[in-house]
Subunit: 173 residues, 2 copies
DNA sequence: ATCTGGTTTCAGTATTTACTGAAAGTTCAT
DNA sequence: ATGAACTTTCAGTAAATACTGAAACCAGAT
């Protein structure tokens, strides 16, 4: 193996490690983030066994996290003709990755949060005390904000790369 | 205690619980998020003992998380004259809360991630193989994106509420 | 209908993260 | 300098989370 491929593997390993740490800080399972990093930088599709081997993890663990990544839309299953095995391939376009994460987090976390805020707001709708009114008002403010974030998420998730770039320009003008 | 105050306490409890769950999903310690929710909806400043009592947690736990919240700029220490005890008060303005979280996450997580991406990019700068070039390119794309996110964070963190509203209008036009 | 190459599940275990409570430390009044 | 009121630390423990590996399952080839 040439010096260059060794260096490449080292760099990749560094990336996988760091992406794992970063994921953990954002509430994503470390292994899931590592598999994602691995596939994002894989020149070819990879099988479950290759992932297991590279990261030195068990079959069950690899399986669960690969399926989770599929459910997040961050990787997809590829089948080679003639082969029974499943292979995996990551979405590599950064903007697309962002869109998908935005869409899923909105669906899984923002929307339920919004629901709660609305309940809390409704529950304090008719309160007469200053404290009750203050609480109601606070819930209202939070709801407005989170609902704004939610709409943002929708908007972003449906935006094409080019459009996003233009918007970004506007933002920094 | 009137019916209304009971209902208010229930609603508040619901909010505290849910805010805790939401925090956990975003990589924030559940108790920290709960204390934050509690203080955000507190009509008055609260002491460590009151927080301990309300959430049924130990002194050490309350202390650590209160200090962490202070370091995130989400609550501040208030001293009453004549009293030796420290009291805590939350920032209640939603936009301000968002700004502070954005600023801290950028500082604590985005900037270090950027550092790593730059290293990985640099390490593969001169590679000749197609794989090496692809890796370098991928790191470049990620770096551009994260660096954009970082600048976004700065921008948002330094924006006044009114300005943000105007920008939001533009966004949805 | 059985075997082979593969996927999926899950009880048990390991690891990580968070929490407790008591002791040590600090600060201020006397 | 002593003590009361409060804050901080941290070793030990509990709880939550993630991982393993083996068994069950499934689909297609023979």
């Amino acid at each position: 193996m040439s010096d260059e491929s060794v260096r490449l593997e080292e760099a990749r390993e560094e990336f996988v490690t760091q992406w794992g740490i970063m994921g953990a800080q954002w509430g994503i399972n470390r292994t899931m983030a590592q598999i994602h990093a691995l596939l994002m930088t894989a020149p070819e599709v990879m099988s479950t066994d290759e992932v297991m081997e590279t990261l030195a993890i068990s079959r069950g663990n690899a399986h669960t996290n690969l399926k989770d990544l599929v459910s997040w839309g961050l990787i997809r299953i590829v089948t080679k003709k003639g082969e029974r095995k499943e292979f995996f391939e990551a979405e590599k376009d950064v903007w697309e990755i962002f869109r998908r994460v935005a869409r899923e987090r909105k669906r899984r976390e923002i929307d339920p949060a919004l629901e709660t805020l609305r309940n809390c707001k409704a529950a304090s709708e008719d309160m007469k005390s200053a404290e009750g009114k203050a609480f109601h008002d606070q819930m209202g403010q939070l709801e407005d904000f989170v609902s704004f974030a939610s709409k943002m998420g929708d908007r972003v998730a449906s935006m094409q790369h080019g459009k996003a770039i233009k918007l970004a320009m506007k933002f920094f003008s």
